[in-house]
């Protein structure tokens, strides 16, 4: 009869798409016009929105992982308590 060994802990591997770094701000050159500045501002806003969405999604995923792990740990604690009560 093989004596059980400790198993690996649970993994929470966030999707690679959520781990991508945020983009750099758009470059601003000498002699830029007011119209071009509006364009730069728009691109930076889009980039910030995309980054914020990615960050929120990642934070949600990590929080959900923690919830799942906590539920699992609670089950293990319960199981240990049951076993301790038997002995």
């Amino acid at each position: 009869m093989a004596v059980p060994v400790v198993k690996e802990a649970q993994k929470c591997e966030a999707p690679a798409s959520m781990l991508a770094a945020c983009g750099d701000p758009a470059a601003i050159g000498q002699g830029i016009t007011f119209g071009e500045m509006i364009d730069v501002s728009g691109r930076d806003r889009d980039s910030l929105n995309a980054c914020a969405l990615r960050h929120k999604s990642l934070a949600d995923a990590v929080a959900a992982c923690n919830d799942n792990i906590e539920k699992y740990n609670a089950e293990i604690r319960e199981m240990k308590a049951r076993n301790a009560a038997k002995q």
Binding site: Q10, I28, T33, G42, N49, A50, L53, R54, A61
Partner: protein, 170 residues
């Protein structure tokens, strides 16, 4: 004769001692086996829970990934549309200026006529009424010219002193 008896008794005693020891040892081993079985059962139960929990985590992450991909796609579509609208709006500055200037020209013509009518008006009340209309046209033209200036501004370079802190240096 006495020697044989001693031998038999000794042998019997040895058998009793051996049997007792074996029985005692067997009980101990059985208890240990039962304990190991209980540990294995608890471990199997824990492993089943771990697997189930890990599957739950993997599925949740896949769902989150799909949800994120959908939202990111929607965001990109909106950003692309905004970029197109902005490019069109920026490119249309000159035509907007031309249209605003044409409207300003109409206002000038109407103003000139009203001014002539005012100067020829026979009574102070009529002159006042016409002057009020001229003032309203002047306000309208001022508003139009502000829009002309705003559109013309798009093609002007941002003053260096203002933009310098933002300019990327290599």
């Amino acid at each position: 004769m006495l020697g044989n008896l001693k031998l038999i008794l000794g042998g019997a005693l040895a058998v009793v001692i051996f049997g007792g020891g074996y029985s005692f040892g067997a009980r101990k081993v059985a208890a240990l086996e039962a304990q190991i079985q209980a540990i294995k059962s608890a471990s199997d139960d824990a492993e089943a829970k771990r697997k189930k929990s890990q599957e739950g985590i993997d599925k949740m992450l896949k769902d989150k990934e799909a949800e994120y991909a959908k939202q990111a796609q929607q965001l990109k579509a909106r950003a692309d549309q905004k970029a197109k609208d902005l490019a069109a709006a920026l490119a249309g500055a000159n035509s907007r200026i031309a249209s605003l200037q044409a409207q300003a020209g109409d206002l000038d013509a109407r103003r000139a006529k009203l001014a002539a009518d005012r100067d020829a008006a026979p009574t102070a009340a009529e002159r006042k009424k016409l002057q009020d209309q001229i003032d309203a046209l002047d306000r309208e033209k001022k508003s139009l010219m502000t829009k002309v200036d705003a559109n013309a501004c798009l093609a002007l370079a941002v003053p260096e002193a203002v933009i310098a802190p933002q300019v990327q240096r290599r």
